[in-house]
Each structure stands twice: as structure tokens, then as C-alpha cells.
Symmetry: C2
């Protein structure tokens, strides 16, 4: 990185973190077998040009260099202190940094966020230090910060002992420090180079988002790679993502925790609560961060993101054309793409006619298979150019067979020559073909080594959108004391948003005569702001046929509630006509502690849980996004012509999704959680109706 | 391969196919730019020691060798003819092979199975030739057969132009010819060697299973790798798989067609109908063939299968222990394994105590994370040996971080030294570490380059079972003329199998008075062996309360049927009490045209289709397998304690699955299709009851 600086001034955060003029190594060891002896060796081996101060109270020299007894005895205040001492001593060193005005201290030791009650106390102490003095801490449990261009190798990670590390435009931020080594060695094997890499550790002070933001104006950094265990400090990530998008710098992320077991690991490693993965997915998508699911895709996707900027929200198509010399090889990519919802389309009749005219002999099928006979420069070039100029494709994949290994001039060269087209062209080489891969990487053509990685990257790229502007996020209200509305009040709130509810009247439990504004049969429900789950306390009676039954139902409810909640007095019940529609869904809004306000549409009843059939977005959403959510839900098929069933009012449903999502920007009311369950779906033109609702305010 | 042979005798199929004494190249070209010039070059380059007869009626020499004008003018009958001429001429050449008594002809041309009606005629002609003369045909559309040990490179695949192809114990059979090149080059990059490779083409005569079977007794072949577009000639595959298992030679398969789009490609390429993927999965599992889902796993899995033989059906556990030097790297594998249903388990208290005693410092969590500090030979060796001897694990995964790249003596060497344990040990190296990978491969230790491949292989290996003995499969009856049973007769058949049905009486549609052996309300259904879908013709009336309603319901049904089927006279209806249970499932049996008899358990109603919530096995099944099927179904949760609902009678359900699956071995009745839908699930002890049934006989 080429951070500009004026030697006379205090360094910026980015400078102190990644381009310090001087580095103190607190606890530097003279014993080369020790981890704490590594940073000095790596800095020297790399040729760092700034000043290094090894600090060791027990020695006058460390690895042949003069050592200093303590931070306070240094001749000048270092820009960055890398603290290599164990947990308790590391806190003391950080306190000394704070006293002296060291701008950034990186802490290697663990035992903080993952250290139970004792660790939590130490974290609080460090955070207090930062708040009081302005010290910024990277970590704890950070393996360091590396700037390859400036040879600032502030790390204990053995991977950085390697000479000739590949320099390039990628900046990496990782929750896992050890992964940095894997990324850099795998990058080297692919000719993929890095500008800088940071192991963010516990993020008790400097967050991953802040660290990335501090590098945004570095012209040498062209893209970002994130390895995430969970979403932490989401607002900082969003702020960074918005600015990265504004600068045309793509961000790709791999996130752990799709399974419950891995989510638990993230928890035990960092002390952070791992959220639900689909909420994290919605958050990343909303930030315009391309999420990949295969580890190798993380390393291979950025060239494609650089070719295909975030797509406008209006462009919802994911239409891919495939040209190949090997039907079997292409079928693997098609299989993987199709399973990710990418449409692999047949060329149109017009396009096929143009292919034929260009001399491309192939069958008019879902893929253009040139076969062995078409493994020639002219054939492949003509096929690619025709497909790339066809309006029915958003992206073209070239799958090259055995010739790629020793004769890249036949089918790989045309890929390189056609790749400057307006539409992105990516390639998967089926054989092991290192020379051709190097040619493609050198030419900036997105290339993949496995069908899974190719499909993963294409899917991530076609799904990427511009990040949504940061709204007044209400992350914190989830933790605040909450107040629940009773069902009538909840309906009132929904009504204001524009969501209809079933007719409902409150009836006094002691009423002598009850006249209803609608006819029997009716449903009778406990009306209380104290009890959220009415059914569980015997607070619901359905199919009540007449006034006598109604009175007896009311008494039954009163009795049931008294039995379970002796100190709660029930004064009113809610009465509604029995309603039925084509089916029921669950529509919800809530403020996630990390991701912020989300809107959720799910299959109703037990199916939400059993099939995890739900769609999540960050709120607010527009009508198109609401329609996407509907189409993502498997159960939606029953409302859209499944087995000749009548059509449901999907327009009204989409409007209801948009309406409830507006709670995210409503300045009059701070809703933590709003759930309409069930939302009754009626026939086309007859709307959707809330039949029960639960709302919790901050 | 070292196929033994006696020069005086007719070659066996295996010899003629893969170790011929002489090869005729029909249509060999003198123009090195032509595909048909390749086989002669490859045979010569490889140093094939047998006789090669180039056949070209227009030239006296081909590539400097004497050419023959036709097959019939050769001095002796070749063991193998590779026919390189176009479609029509290829048929003539095959006919000549048949006349002359050539044992095996391989046809390169396409235009047969994928050639529409014209192609089908040519296929029929070739098949007649084979039936009449005993000629065996490989292909058409075959890229050839390769025997690397004997340097018998009978192929036009450019990948075999390469010198120093890696020789080893793997035999490959592939539906895709072009894929052979990818497998061999990717194998070479991994030090994985091959004995032989065959492109099976359209399989119009020699099937993939037969080809593999012909190589079974070759001691140089130790394992099999299959690349499948679909399941074709399933009986041959099963026969091969059984014999391979008996010889301890593992079989691994990658199969295309998980998505609808790829299934369509398989169809258009080969003319074969691609079946449902989950049926293919059940078939492969029943054959003891390990199925992998990532392409690279196909190349990386065999060493693990050689370490872990097919597990006995009684061993249903899939418990994995993980030891690592990098928490982030291990978490990727854990995530992928957990999503595949592999249990990544915490060490027991006893095991953890043993680890501590052995000097392994780690937290007692789901994985044993030695961290950077534990990256030492002794620590890793002690951790691995302790975990491998712990009874709670079926397999141990070692995930090694950055040290693997340049210091394999630290954490990779102990993996090699511990890998001879009784329990399998596999490893994933997180960085790019070619030297360590070579060490591991050389030592026969299963090793993986991506977390996805590692998890894929572990899952495939732990799921692998001994193949089921070949039963009297009824593959053909699916195509035979069929007869449908009416509902009463269907119930009778189920009853004999031991499956209860709801009370049911047949009632004459003209009866004056109707007395039922059960009380109202009842359901009334059309009783006919002609109409399968009663509801669609208005043949079902539910909730009939009394005799008058019953008579009117009968008349309504009679009228409805007359309206839709004027020539069908309805004489009887079926009357049943209205029943309700805890829920409904679909239980089915059918004879799949390729896989044979299958049993199927699925969510009832629309959920089968919407959530594709079903479990398939080849029939017959035992009680344990039936229980596995129940647990695979998501909807089963509602019967096993979901949200305090009463428990369903899962024992009775398992017995019903076993019972219906017995149709596969019933010698008295040839059932093509039997579907109980719904099967009502009652409370524990109250059984399961068929409430409708449809049975079709051959």
C-alpha cells in the first residue's frame, strides 16, 4: 500500500495499523523456536524500512539487535506496538501504550473474549483504556497486520516467513488469523497477489469494518476478501461496504456457520453470538458483498466481480449461456449452477442462426457443445462472440476440455481474446492446466479450477447488488426493555401501516348480553398485553356457534388463565368471525441485534420450523424485493397455480411485506418485533388479512 | 493391467477390449490435423508392443506405415477394431468385423443414440449384428479404451498424447469420453495413477457394468472410478459392484443430473432417460458404491475407501473427531460435514482426560484445537493417537494449518505416522502445500485439498455399505401391460402383506336400504378398477352424516362419473368411516425401469411435491433401514415429540414400510406400483392405517 504521510504529523489509523514508521515488539524473544521471536525475523527478512524496537526486560539484545527494557524507555513513541506477552501482561503493556500515546496496539494473546468471566473483565479494562485515551487495539487474539507493499510484516503467523509473497491489489480481513496463511499460499499458487492482510481477532475495539474502512482510499487496494466466522459490528461492515461500492472496489466474503455445529464453534472461539445464517446472508446481500460458499471460490471470484459491477436492483435475471468443447465437463457446471437457481438458457433461434452463419456446428440445445471437432480457435472465437452479443444472456461460461492442458492456443486463447466484451465471460478448465490458468489470470479473465467454484462465483456475482444506504438502524433497541401490545392495539398499528386485519371486537368478560357486528361462528381469544402465547394458556376457543357458547367460552378462558397466571385478571376477550382463505403465511418484522431491522416471510404453522421455508431481507424493502421473497418461499407455489388451485392475491401480499418493512423507517414508533401469524391469503383481488398479531415495542 | 493370455486361444472380452494382441484402426488418416490420425500416433508414442493395422482404402501408407485397404484383407483377424469412420460407414465396418469374427469393435462416431429415428435404426442394426454373431461393440460415441500398463492407447482423446501418464491401480469407466483427459491430468497432478480408462459411449451393446466386470480379476486393478450421466443397465452395474466388493475393490462414482437442467443434458447426449436423482442415489448406495458430489472428490476419495471398507449395516453411526492446528480451517470442514449429516463430536470426558495426560493442551470443545502453540510433532502425534483409540469416533480428521507448507515434519509427519491405526485418519491441508500432499499420497494417507472435498469424501465413506445381493429384479415388468386393482382388492393385497386399512364396505349403487357396520359420518368413494384418480372425476364425497345423505352422495358420484366417462357404468361405491389420526404420509412401492423395485416414504398431500420431502430405498428393506427412512423425512418430526404433540406409532410405520417392500420378493403377485396415500399415522400402540390405496399389476 502506498499510504501518503507527513512525518511530522500523528499517523492516521490506516497508517499506524498498516504503514507505521516504527514498531515496538513487546515481549520479543531471543529464542527462535518461540512464536514471540517470529515478528522481528519476518520484518527483517522482508526488509521493513522503518524502526523496530524489540522490548525485552531480561535481555540487552534480541536476535542480535539491541533490546529495550520497556515501552516507556524507548527514544520515541512508536506508531504501532505488537504485544506478544501472555494475557495478563498484555493488558499491562496496553495500559502503557495508552499512557504513552501509542496510536495502535495489536494483542496476540488469547484468553479475553473466549476467557469466560475473567476474560470479560480484562476486555472491559482494555475497552476502558481505549475510551479514555484514544488508543486503538487490534485483537486480542490477533495474528497481526501485514502490508506486503511496505514490507510491514507485523505478525507471528509462520506463513509470512515465506519469501516472494505475491503482491497485488487484494486486502484481506479475517476472523481467523491462521487462515491468512492459507489464503496467501493458495493465492501464490494462482498468481493472485495481496496488498495487505489483517487478523482482526476478537474485535473488542477495532472492528473488521473499521479496519477495512481505514484502507479505502489506498489506490493500491482494488478489492476486498473477507473470511467471517459470524457477523459482528454490522454497522461498521455496512459503512465500509457502501464506501467500497462507491469506489468500485468489490468485496467477497466466505462465512462460516451454515450448520449449527460450526455456529457453535464460532461462538466458542470468539465469545460472539452466531446469528442465524440466513439473516447474515440477507445482511451481506444488502451490503452488496458477494458471498461464496466454497473456500477456493473466495480466492477465485474477485476478477469476475471486477468485470461485473453490482447489478442494478431492476436487473433480476440470472441467465447464463454455456459454450464448451466437452459436454460432460459443461454438464457439471450446469448442474451446480442450476442447483443455485441460475438459469442456464438455450440460445434463442436468432442467436442459433447467427452461430450457424458464423460456421459454428452444434446442436441447438441448452449448451453449445462444439465437441472435439470444434476445438479450434476460429470455431470457439465465433461461438463466444456470438453468445456474448446475444441479448438473452447476462454472462457466458466457457468450459474447455483436454486441449486446455497443452494446446491453449486452440480454445483458451479465444476466451482471452473475447473477454473484453461488455458482458462478462468466465471459464472453467476441466483438465489440470496450470499454463492456461496462468495465461487467463494474467489477462484478467475470471477462471476456475472446479465446476463447483465456477458455479459458486457466477451465482454470487449475478446476485450482487449495490448496497442499500445506511438507514437509521435500530440495532440497540432489541436489547432495550420491551412492552407488548395487546391484539387490538397490534391490529391498530398494522392498520396504520396499511395491513388489513380480520374484524375484531373486544368483549367485556362480565357482559350480560353480547351483540356482535358479524355473524357466528366466531373465534374467542384472550385479550392481554401480558401473555404472548394465548394458545398455550388455554386462551383460545374456535368455532363458537352462538351467544350461549360464547359466554361459556369466555368463562373457560378466564378459568384457564386464572389457573396458569393466578395474579393476572382478565377483563376482556377478543372475538372474531371464523375466517378461511386459500392458505396462511407468517409475516414478521424484527430488529436483529447484529443485522438490524429485518422482514421475514415464512410458511405458516409447523412448516416454518420443519422445512425452514422462509425468506429474509433487511428492512425496508421495495415491491420487487417483496416479490422476490414470495418467489423464494417454496410454499408460495400453492398460491400461484399449483394443481389448479385458485390464485392467491400475491400483489396484496407483496404490498403487506413492503408495509410491515416500513417499521424500519417509522419515526413515530420503535417496534422491536411484529409478527402476523397467520396472515390469511385470499383470492386474487381479495387481499390478505392478519388473523393474529403480536407486537413488541422498545 | 496384466491380463494373462494364451496366444492360441480366442481372447476373453477383457483381453480383446483392453489387452488386444492386434488392433485395426479403420479409417486411420494420414493427416495429423485429423482426429482419425491420433490413435496410431498415440499407440506408437506409448510403445504399444502388439500389431497395429492402419486401414485406409485410399492410401498405401498412413503416417509412414503400411496401410491396408480393408479389414477383410488383413493377414489375420485383429483382436480389436477401432472404427474412426463417420456414422454410416462405421456401421458397414462393424458389419465387416462381425463377418470376420473380430471380437470387439469400438465406434467413435456419434449420430446413433442421439440421432433421432434415423439413429435408432442404426442402433438396431448394430444390436442385431451383435446378437447374431457375438461381436461386442464399445460405443458408439466412445472415445476409446486405454490400458496404461500395456501401453494400449486405443483412443482419439488428445489427453493421451501426453508422455509419462501416471500408472496405478485405478480403473475408470465414464459416460463422458472427454472427462477421461481431465481425470488423468488431475490425477497426475496428485500422483494418482491409473490402470485403465474406458469411454463407454452409448452402451448399445457393452454396458459400463459389463466392461468393469471384465476387469475384475486383474490383480493390477485395485479400485474403480465412475463418471455417470445417469444410471443405465443397472443390473450390470449391480452385478459388477457385488463382485468388486467381494474382492475388496472399492468403487467411487460422481453422477450428474441432480438438477433438472443437467438431467435434460444427459438425455439429449445419450438418448437415455435420466431418472430421478434420489432413486439413482438409492441404487448406488444399495450397490455399495460411494457417491461423491464434488468433482475433485472423485479423484481424492479412493485412498479413504481403501482404508475404510464398506461398513456393516448395523454400524449406522457417522461420528467424526477433529484435531487441528487452525480453528478457522477446521471449522470449514466441520460446517461442510455437519450439513451432510455427519456428527462432529466432542471427545468424551475419558478421552479428554487421556489427552490432557498425554500433554495435549486444548479446550474441551467440539474440536481439539491445538492452536499455533500445539504445532509440534509430539503434541499432534499424542492428540491423534488418543483420538484414534477413542471408542466414540468412527473416523478422525486432522486439519493442518500453515506449517504444512514448509514444515511438514511438525504436524503432517505425525498424521503419516498415525495413519496405520485401525480407524481411518484423513487430513485436509489448509494452505497450498504440494510437498506435504505428495508425502501423504505417497504414504497412502487420504488427503484433501479443499474442506468441501474432505467433507464430501468422509460422508461418502461413512455411508458406504456392503452391496445387497442381487434379488430377482423385476426391471422389465414396469414396461409390461398393466392391470389396476379396485380399492377393495388393493386393500386385500395390503392386508396380506400385513398393512391394516380403514374399515371399508362396498355398497351397491342401487341398494334400497343401506346398513353400515360402522357409524356415521362416512366417506363415499367411487369403486372402480378403471379410474385411478377418483377425486378428479367427482368420485369422492366426504363427511356424509346419514343414510339419506349417503344415497344422495352415491347418486352424485354416479352422475359425475357418467358425465366424465359416458361408457363406464358404476355399480358399486366404497364407504368408510371418516377417520383422523396424528397426520398422514404417503407409502409407495414401485418398479423403477432402471433401478428396479423401490420403496418410498413421503410427506402426504401437497408437501411431497412442494418440499420434495421423501426417502427412497431399493426394496426390500429391513426394519433398521425403514427407521432410517423415517428419520430422513423432515415431516416425521411431527410424530416424534415436536412441540409436545402426541407421539406417532413409528414402530408400526417401520413395519408397514418393510411389509410393502416385500412386494419385491413376492413370487405370487407381480406388482408394478402400489401407493398408499394417505397412510394415517395413529398414536403409539395404535398402528398405521391405509385410507386409500392404488395398486397396478403387471
Amino acid at each position: 500500500m502506498s499510504v501518503q504521510r507527513d512525518n511530522a504529523t500523528k499517523p492516521t489509523l490506516g497508517q499506524a495499523l498498516l504503514a507505521p514508521r516504527s514498531i515496538a515488539l513487546v515481549g520479543a524473544s531471543d529464542d527462535v523456536s518461540k512464536t514471540s521471536a517470529r515478528p522481528l525475523q519476518y520484518l527483517r527478512r522482508a526488509g521493513y524500512e522503518g524502526t523496530v524496537y524489540p522490548i525485552n526486560p531480561r535481555r540487552t539484545t534480541v536476535l542480535g539487535e539491541a533490546a529495550w527494557p520497556s515501552l516507556s524507555e524507548l527514544p520515541s513513541v512508536p506508531d504501532h506496538a505488537f504485544i506478544l506477552t501472555p494475557t495478563e501482561e498484555a493488558v499491562e503493556a496496553a495500559a502503557e501504550c495508552a499512557r504513552l500515546g501509542v496510536p495502535v496496539a495489536t494483542i496476540l494473546a488469547s484468553g479475553f473474549s473466549e476467557g469466560g468471566a475473567e476474560g470479560a473483565k480484562l476486555v472491559a479494562r482494555l475497552q476502558a483504556l481505549c475510551a479514555e485515551t484514544g488508543l486503538r487495539i487490534l485483537g486480542p487474539s490477533s495474528l497481526g497486520a501485514i502490508n506486503l507493499r511496505r514490507k510491514t510484516i507485523i505478525t507471528a503467523n509462520a506463513a509470512f516467513a515465506e519469501p516472494d509473497l505475491p503482491t497485488g491489489g487484494i486486502f484481506v480481513a479475517s476472523h481467523s488469523g491462521s487462515l491468512l496463511g492459507a489464503l496467501i499460499s493458495r493465492g501464490k499458487a494462482r498468481n493472485v497477489g495481496f496488498a495487505g492482510l489483517v487478523s482482526v481477532g476478537n474485535e473488542i475495539n477495532l472492528s473488521l469494518g473499521e479496519i477495512c474502512s481505514a484502507t479505502l482510499d489506498d489506490p493500491d487496494i482494488t478489492s476486498y476478501m473477507l473470511f467471517l466466522e459470524s457477523i459482528r459490528h454490522a454497522q461498521d461492515i455496512r459503512a465500509f461496504a457502501i464506501e467500497a461500492a462507491a469506489r468500485g472496489k468489490p468485496v467477497v466474503a466466505y462465512k462460516l456457520g451454515r450448520s449449527a455445529a460450526a455456529a457453535e464453534l464460532a461462538l466458542s472461539h470468539t465469545g460472539a453470538l452466531a446469528g442465524e445464517d440466513d439473516i447474515a446472508a440477507a445482511f451481506l446481500a444488502d451490503c452488496g458483498i458477494a458471498r461464496v460458499f466454497n473456500f477456493e471460490t473466495l480466492i477465485e471470484t474477485l476478477p469476475l466481480l471486477q468485470r461485473l459491477p453490482p447489478r442494478p436492483t431492476a436487473a433480476r435475471t440470472k441467465r447464463v449461456g454455456v459454450v464448451t468443447t466437452t459436454g460432460g465437463g459443461a454438464a457439471m457446471v450446469v448442474d451446480e449452477m442450476s442447483m443455485r437457481g441460475i438459469e442456464v438458457n438455450k440460445a434463442s433461434d436468432e442467436t442459433f442462426a447467427r452461430l450457424t452463419k458464423a460456421g459454428v456446428a452444434a446442436h441447438h440445445e441448452r449448451i453449445i457443445d462444439l465437441t472435439l471437432a470444434g476445438t479450434r480457435y476460429d470455431t470457439m472465437k465465433a461461438a463466444l462472440d456470438t453468445m456474448l452479443s446475444a441479448p438473452e444472456f447476462d454472462l457466458v461460461v466457457a468450459v474447455i476440455g483436454s486441449s486446455a492442458r497443452f494446446q491453449p492456443e486452440l480454445a483458451v486463447k479465444p476466451v482471452i481474446d473475447s473477454a473484453s466484451s461488455a458482458k462478462p465471460l468466465v471459464t472453467f478448465l476441466v483438465p489440470d492446466a496450470p499454463k492456461a490458468l496462468r495465461m487467463l489470470t494474467g489477462a484478467g479473465v475470471p477462471n476456475f479450477r472446479t465446476p463447483e467454484s465456477c458455479a459458486d462465483a457466477v451465482s454470487a456475482a449475478l446476485l450482487r447488488r449495490m448496497p442499500t444506504a445506511q438507514s437509521k438502524l435500530r440495532h440497540n433497541i432489541a436489547a432495550r426493555a420491551t412492552k407488548q401490545l395487546d391484539e387490538i392495539a397490534a391490529y391498530g398499528l398494522l392498520k396504520k401501516l396499511g395491513i388489513e386485519h380480520a374484524p375484531a371486537v373486544a368483549v367485556d368478560v362480565h357482559a350480560d348480553t353480547i351483540s356482535l357486528p358479524f355473524s357466528y361462528p366466531v373465534a374467542v381469544k384472550l385479550l392481554s398485553e401480558k401473555i404472548a402465547h394465548k394458545t398455550e394458556v388455554g386462551g383460545v376457543v374456535l368455532n363458537v356457534e352462538n351467544e350461549a357458547q360464547l359466554k361459556s367460552a369466555i368463562q373457560r378462558i378466564v378459568g384457564n388463565v386464572k389457573a396458569s397466571h393466578p395474579d393476572l385478571s382478565v377483563s376482556q376477550v377478543l372475538v372474531q368471525p371464523m375466517t378461511s382463505g386459500l392458505g396462511e403465511l407468517l409475516l414478521g418484522y424484527r430488529v436483529d441485534p447484529e443485522a438490524g431491522p429485518i422482514v421475514l416471510l415464512a410458511a405458516g404453522g409447523i412448516f416454518t420450523e420443519i422445512y425452514r421455508d422462509r425468506s429474509v431481507r433487511l428492512a425496508p424493502v421495495d415491491l420487487d424485493t417483496a416479490r422476490d421473497m414470495i418467489s423464494e418461499l417454496s410454499i408460495s407455489r400453492i398460491f400461484t397455480g399449483f394443481r389448479n388451485k385458485p390464485l392467491g392475491d400475491m400483489d396484496a401480499l407483496a404490498r403487506a411485506i413492503v408495509s410491515i418493512s416500513q417499521l424500519a423507517v417509522d419515526e413515530n414508533v420503535a417496534v422491536v418485533d411484529a409478527e402476523v401469524n397467520p396472515l390469511m391469503i385470499n383470492r386474487v383481488g381479495e387481499g390478505v388479512v392478519a388473523v393474529d398479531a403480536l407486537v413488541t415495542l422498545a
